[in-house]
Symmetry: C2
Subunit: 214 residues, 2 copies
């Protein structure tokens, strides 16, 4: 059982959406069904990241949706975000958990059972597992399929979202995966209507049969 609703996890990308538009896009996306927001900034200065996080936090707080900060534990602390998401190139999960304390959310990117089991041991609450498809927004090491996700879910015991190139029209890839939700970047960031895009993604996720036998 997850401490948060992972159904539709929005990961931001300021290459796809200018920072000054981001709060509006996030607001609309939440109205459409986004249940969790991760702010990811790969080129911003610390000051910019901090200021953008404050602006997004106003939106997520209004909607009582958790805000997770990507990579930067200091930014998470500085804005009192609900949690941190780290990849395999970020701080070790055990170190992040120690500094965050037990109450904050800690998500970890994993693409193998080994990484997932290590993350569970080191204090992660939930996982982002991918990539499901090749994407432009992040370099992809290797692709995962529904049966891999299912094994990761079962062997780590952690709730997880599938990530990487997921759209409403390819959500069937999660069939049988036992994924607790789906994380998207461009499917919402690049949408003309983020609210409607989010609504379609939730609907597609519900219909994907993630709990079906493989």
């Amino acid at each position: 059982m997850s401490r948060v609703d992972l159904t539709l996890y929005l990961v931001t990308d300021s290459d796809l959406c200018p920072p000054e538009k981001m709060p509006e896009v996030v607001d609309k996306a939440i109205r459409g069904g986004v249940t969790l927001v991760q702010l990811r900034e790969k080129t911003a200065s610390s000051r910019e990241f901090y200021q953008r996080a404050l602006a997004i936090k106003e939106v997520t707080s209004d909607h009582h949706v958790p805000l997770i900060i990507n990579d930067r534990l200091d930014i998470a602390l500085a804005v009192d975000a609900d949690g941190l998401h780290i990849g395999q190139e970020d701080l070790p999960a055990s170190v992040a958990r120690r500094i965050l304390g037990p109450d904050k959310l800690l998500g970890v990117s994993a693409s193998t059972v080994e990484e997932a089991v290590a993350a569970a041991r080191d204090g992660a609450d939930h996982l982002g597992v991918g990539a499901l498809f090749p994407t432009d927004t992040k370099e992809v090491d290797h692709l995962v399929d529904a049966s891999t996700i299912r094994r990761i879910r079962q062997q780590s015991g952690l709730p997880l979202v599938g990530i990487g190139g997921i759209k409403a029209n390819n959500m069937g890839v999660l069939r049988g995966s036992l994924a607790d939700g789906v994380a998207v970047v461009s499917a919402i960031m690049c949408a003309y209507d983020p609210e409607s895009a989010a609504r379609q993604l939730v609907e597609a996720y519900r219909k994907a049969g993630v709990n079906d036998e493989i």
Copy 2:
């Protein structure tokens, strides 16, 4: 009165020295007279920064010399460094001080009296003031001279180091500045013999007449 000896402050640069050689260079530099070390990593992943900080901390701890982390408060916390150094594009000093607590060192880059006074108000212990000369290692907004440093020192009440292109043979620029020390990057990072370079820098600093009347 500074909480640390600012006489010769080494700021690292992995563009000038490969990370695997850095601990050895820092060790030699401390033997030559470096009193404070700042680890600055502008392109490393968080994991790399963390690992490099752990490696440098072994060296600084052996010599009982404080280790300061540039920009990344999370890395400073993760390795339990002695402090953090932030610039005007990093986290606000007040936020950094709140998270660091009262016991850690907090240095702030300032190039005007206004920035220096704000840093003092926001919890800085000491300042890096520059640039004294144009450099290749950092983009320079504007240059400061000894009389500006003197005013910053007097009006902020904070101990400070001059930084930016300082070498043993141009240390005279600090004459009358009241600087508590000098920070260098390439003068040590690029030196064939970091120990001897540090020794010459300390000697030049002692002879520069920083407390002379202007």
